[in-house]
């Protein structure tokens, strides 16, 4: 694993292969997130949920990053980080509650250290920077992580947050999932420079990695996390990932995506691939998979019980 900063420099050596226990945890989270995602999509089709924003295809990026930043970090999510929420122990019903119109946040943000979803894009980036400054003023050392998407990087708040974080040397890790699409606007029409280059322009160290594999994503994010911790300054890691579904359940994305691109996205499914990889490597066996399948079934059943009955 060789990770370089956007300026080409090597940062910290992370050669450690991901241990089997972490790999199993990641696959388990990915499978549970996938199960929730599928069931929620079905429930939306039946009218039991009002809307669902699928994270299908982004599970490797989300689980790999969430595992790397650890349980202690405070997370300011955007609105599609369901697999991150699963890593943080948020159950399916809590996760889906806001999409059934029951609440604006179905989980306890303090308990899970996973703050409410923010639907006005990039607004949470400034909250994260302010939070990190506030913790420093109170002599509290705590990792702060904020998730944004590629589209949100066009918002003024994102630029203000990067600038503020750089000026204040606020220890915030920006995790940008670039799934290639801001609803129907492809990333290459959204920006002329890469997100990492822009971060560098503000004085924020950046990395950009392909995030279809949880192992490499985990290691890259671990690297970025360690940089933020040791330098006590901000960093941004771009996770290049894939949106397999539409923006939401109401988005007919096949109408604006090329069939080949969509087919490739489906064929490159990170959950299927990782499951196969860990089976091949004998990291998981049938017994383990059966147990996780039972967990997935329970989560799906819980959703049906909570919203369809």
């Amino acid at each position: 694993m060789d990770i370089t900063g956007h300026d080409g420099s090597r940062l910290l050596d992370v050669h450690t292969p991901v241990d089997a226990e972490t790999q199993r945890a990641m696959l388990r989270h990915m499978l549970i997130a996938r199960g929730i995602d599928e069931e929620a999509g079905l429930l939306e089709n039946q009218g039991a949920l009002d809307l669902w924003l699928s994270c299908r295809g982004q599970e490797a990026a989300q689980v790999g990053s969430a595992m790397a930043i650890g349980d202690e970090a405070v997370i300011f999510p955007s609105y599609r980080e369901h697999a991150v929420a699963v890593v943080r122990g948020i159950d399916a019903v809590s996760l889906a509650a806001q999409w059934a119109g029951r609440t604006f946040c179905g989980w306890n943000p303090c308990v899970h250290r996973f703050f409410p979803y923010t639907l006005v894009l990039a607004a949470q980036t400034l909250h994260a920077v302010g939070y990190a400054i506030g913790q420093r003023l109170q002599n509290i050392t705590e990792n702060v992580v904020v998730y944004v998407g590629d589209g949100a990087t066009s918002e003024g708040d994102m630029s203000e947050a990067l600038n503020l974080a750089a000026v204040e040397s606020a220890p915030v890790l920006f995790i940008c999932q670039n799934n290639g699409w801001a609803i129907s606007k492809p990333s290459h029409e959204q920006m002329r420079t890469s997100i990492g280059e822009r971060a560098n322009g503000f004085g924020v160290r950046s990395w950009s990695v392909s995030a279809d594999d949880p192992d490499s994503t985990y290691l890259a994010c671990l690297e970025a996390r360690r940089y933020v911790e040791r330098s006590a300054s901000p960093g941004l890691i771009e996770l290049r990932t894939t949106r397999i579904g539409g923006h939401t359940t109401t988005d007919p994305h096949a109408s604006y995506r090329e069939p080949d691109e969509l087919a490739a996205a489906i064929a490159n499914d990170p959950v299927v691939k990782y499951r196969d990889t860990l089976v091949t490597l004998d990291v998981v066996d049938d017994e383990w998979l059966d147990a996780v399948d039972a967990e997935v079934a329970a989560a799906r059943h819980g959703l049906i019980e909570a919203f369809a009955s």
């Binding site: 306890n108 400034l126 909250h127 506030g134 913790q135 003023l137 203000e160």
Partner: protein, 326 residues
């Protein structure tokens, strides 16, 4: 009792901030030029020297980042008091105020307090350039989740600021610019407000209720004195335009039977319209005549040479009171 303190608004707020910061380490100030300079109106003068650069923070020149970071600071347990340099510059921060700060405690299922004050110099009458004279409190009053303070006197402003800092939900704290350095004040009755958020009667009278807030209240009190021989005027200082203490207004109208509302902001869809509508709905039976408003026309705030004609003045308030009581 007469409010005899010779302090002006800038000094009283400065003193209040100093006391707040002395008493509570979690109070931090964030704003443009508030540290080294002491603020363009010197409201924070000397505070950075006393409390240091960590607690009196010269912000980068971006209003959204001022409000957005303050939300994050508040979530981390601090009590940030932001300064927006002029009301006309608050709009780049409006998204953070309306969609984030105002909704945050609800989004968190009311499990958190969001202590956050946004101080905003407001209003005209100081021969300022474009964007430096408007009164747009109605935008904020319209937004659930925000408290909107609009003090009219130095001592009351200090008390309201102290309350606001620990209010548990965001407060837009308007500071009338033309009171910043004004030392002479109309005499007032100093009846304490029933609660920190209550309106207060600042002049007792029996013929008409005049409701106002902010710098205009000085003009209302001056007009009340002018017409004292023909009309016994009761003056209600609203203090907070949101939440609005309509009970104090209704009680007063029940005694006087007449209501005039005066404010500096545009009348159309303004705070005065809300006061009038509320009394129409709940106190119509008390009224001896039509209620009236005095407020600016729905026109863009003019260049300084024309602002005297644009703003409501003492003669207009006095003649309106006399007409209504005739």
């Amino acid at each position: 009792m007469i409010d005899s303190k010779p302090m002006c608004l800038a000094e009283s707020l400065n003193g209040a901030l100093r006391e707040l910061m002395d008493d509570d380490d979690s109070v931090v100030l964030v704003g443009q030029d508030i540290g080294r300079l002491g603020g363009v109106f010197r409201v924070t003068k000397g505070l950075q020297e006393r409390f240091g650069t960590d607690r009196v923070r010269d912000a980068i020149l971006a209003e959204s980042s001022i409000v957005g970071q303050a939300i994050g600071m508040s979530l981390s347990g601090l009590k940030p008091v932001c300064e927006i340099q002029f009301e006309g510059f608050i709009y780049p921060g409006m998204n953070q105020i309306i969609t984030q700060a105002a909704k945050m405690t609800t989004r968190w299922n009311d499990d958190i307090a969001l202590n956050l004050v946004i101080r905003v110099p407001v209003g005209g009458g100081i021969r300022a350039v474009e964007h430096h004279s408007e009164s747009n409190e109605a935008y904020f009053a319209h937004t659930p989740g925000l408290k909107v303070a609009f003090p009219s006197s130095p001592t009351d402003a200090a008390a309201m600021l102290k309350y606001s800092t620990s209010a548990g939900s965001p407060v837009i704290f308007f500071e009338p610019k033309r009171l910043y350095w004004k030392r002479r004040q109309q005499p007032r009755e100093l009846l304490e407000p029933a609660t920190p958020l209550s309106a207060r009667i600042v002049r007792r009278g029996s013929d008409i209720t005049v409701v106002g807030f902010g710098a205009v209240l000085e003009d209302v009190l001056a007009a009340a004195d002018q017409v004292a021989s023909t009309a016994d005027v009761e003056v209600v200082d609203l203090r907070w335009v949101a939440p609005m203490d309509v009970d104090t207004v209704l009680d007063s109208v029940a005694r006087t039977g007449r209501l005039l509302v005066v404010h500096e902001a545009i009348g159309f869809s303004g705070v005065g319209a809300e006061v009038i509508a509320t009394v129409a709905e709940h106190g119509f039976h008390h009224l001896k005549g039509p209620m009236r408003r005095l407020a600016a026309p729905r026109r863009i705030y003019p260049p300084a040479d024309y602002e005297k004609h644009y703003l409501t003045g003492v003669p207009e308030i006095a003649s309106t009171i006399e007409e209504m009581c005739a």
